[in-house]
């Protein structure tokens, strides 16, 4: 008797939960807020998802993509969290959502968002000009220890690139002069023109130059080598690049999650709706093609797993920011 009652309650609650999660669907246009300028990594990430949703009809409501990349993306985050219970503003970004407010007064708080999903992890590599004497990460690091060190270019200031450079310096004692450019693309061209000694670009930012043999990858900050894929240059594919750890740089992993957010005030059903849509996006062949083409690591994180990841990622960056004195007063 007691048992059946229990089952009945369980069924009822399960039914309710299912009913509730199916209850919310958007009935007016949804804004996809891109926290980068048009053409940036986050922009391509967002528009790829948009195109997959449209093509596979994963959502009935129309999608409006708006670029708000001002202030290193903070413009988008300010806008995305301005209306705390508006379920029609989905913000697309990276780990800068929780890192930006640490280094400057940004006009939004990272608690103003609730994470929906992380769709991919972008890799970081050490790149040098193809005429550089450094053939592997070890000799590169050794060279950077001498004298004034080496010129390292990257995208933005106190962002993921500069954080990684600081981690490398801390772990190895190498010295770098970090020069911030507007984008990873600019850092790629500066390296191809040999105006800087190296950069730590994502695969997608340097692939064009690598294909043309203008730059050379030394190692990737990933626990294991990247997926092979087709050959990029005559004799190398992505999987031929050693991990930094195996080439003697004692950093296990450094990756950048591509993330999706909602304002913190929306109901759990809304979050479930969008994370379900994203879960479907992530299974399409188009998405797999995007991951392969941009040489990212496909992962899907949502819910508690994602929260845990964010906490860890924040803690790691926090210690770097503290050491460098970047923390906002």
């Amino acid at each position: 008797m007691f048992k059946t009652k229990l089952i009945a309650t369980m069924l009822a609650s399960a039914f309710c939960a299912a009913g509730a999660s199916a209850a919310w669907t958007p009935d007016k246009p949804v804004e996809f807020i891109v926290t980068s300028g048009a053409g940036g990594g986050t922009d391509i990430f967002t528009r790829t998802i948009q195109s997959i949703i449209v093509k596979n009809k994963l959502m009935d409501a129309p999608i409006v993509v708006v670029n708000k990349g001002g202030g290193a993306g903070s413009e988008g985050y300010v806008y995305g969290s301005a209306e705390q219970n508006n379920p029609y503003r989905v913000t697309f970004g990276t780990n800068n959502e929780y890192l930006l407010p640490l280094v400057a007064k940004m006009g939004y708080a990272s608690e103003g968002f609730t994470p929906v999903a992380a769709m991919a992890l972008d890799e970081f590599l050490i790149w040098v000009n193809s005429n550089s004497p450094h053939k592997d990460a070890k000799s590169f690091i050794e060279a950077a220890k001498k004298g004034d060190g080496l010129r390292m270019g990257g995208s933005q200031s106190k962002d993921t690139d500069q954080t990684l450079v600081s981690i490398i310096s801390e772990a190895t004692g190498a010295k770098f002069t970090y020069i911030p450019f507007k984008s990873g693309g600019e850092a790629a061209i500066q390296l191809a023109g040999a105006h800087i000694d190296s950069n730590v670009n994502n695969p997608n930012e340097n692939i064009g130059q690598w294909k043309a043999n203008m730059v050379r990858p030394l190692c990737v900050f990933s626990p294991k080598r990247m997926a092979a894929g087709p050959k990029v240059t005559k004799d190398m594919s992505w999987s031929d690049i050693p991990t930094c750890k195996e080439s003697g740089v004692p950093i296990e992993t450094y990756q950048m999650p591509r993330t999706i957010w909602l304002p913190a005030g929306v109901s759990p059903e809304v979050v479930t709706f969008y994370s379900n849509v994203m879960a479907k996006v992530q299974q399409t062949p188009d998405w797999k093609a995007y991951i392969e083409k941009t040489s990212q690591t496909g992962t899907f994180m949502a819910g508690d797993e994602l929260r845990k990841y964010i906490t860890q990622d924040t803690a790691r960056a926090y210690s770097v920011f503290k050491r460098e004195g970047w923390l906002a007063k």
């Binding site: 007016k28 246009p29 804004e31 129309p62 409006v64 708006v66 002069t177």
Partner: protein, 166 residues
């Protein structure tokens, strides 16, 4: 030959006022740039260096303009705005200001309808139906152009939400 009776603002007043305003902006810029250091460090200028000196130059140049303005126009002959011109400017700027004010609370669509309608009726002397038609058609045309066709959302307020337009 003009007399000063119809003069609302003399050139002297405006020269002085403008120089003071630009000088004030310069001072604000200087003050704001103090936050991040205005020196020249190892890696070149600090973040506040450029804005600070830019602000300083604005202050200096504004002071010179103030002096020249007073010197050249000390006889107060030249007018900046006659009363009649002032009225015209006010008749144009006033509604425009209200348009922005209304729009920032009720959205651009409501703002533009009210603005076009009242300007046409009270200043253009048009009949009510014509003014109403023009303002409504403008709003609807803009709605289709921006929201529907180009998918660029314009500022919307509570009224649109009431009638279910997103």
């Amino acid at each position: 030959m003009r007399t000063t009776s119809g003069v609302l603002l003399t050139r002297l007043t405006m020269e002085v006022a403008t120089a003071l305003v630009t000088g004030l902006i310069g001072a604000t810029v200087c003050y704001g740039s103090l936050e991040f250091g205005i020196g020249w460090g190892d890696a070149g200028p600090q973040p506040g260096y450029f804005p600070f000196y830019v602000g300083l130059i604005v202050i200096i140049a504004s002071t010179v303009n103030l002096g020249f303005g007073i010197y050249h126009h000390r006889d107060r002959v030249e007018e900046f705005l006659t009363t009649e011109q002032g009225q015209r400017i006010l008749a144009f700027f006033g509604p425009m200001f209200l348009f922005v004010l209304v729009s920032s609370f009720l959205g651009l669509y409501v703002g533009m309808i009210l603005y076009l309608f009242s300007v046409m009726v009270f200043q253009g002397g048009y009949r009510l139906p014509k003014a109403l038609a023009v303002s409504l058609i403008t709003a609807i045309a803009n709605y289709f152009l921006f929201e529907v066709w180009f998918k660029v959302p314009l500022l919307k307020g509570p009224l649109e939400a009431l009638i279910g337009i997103h």
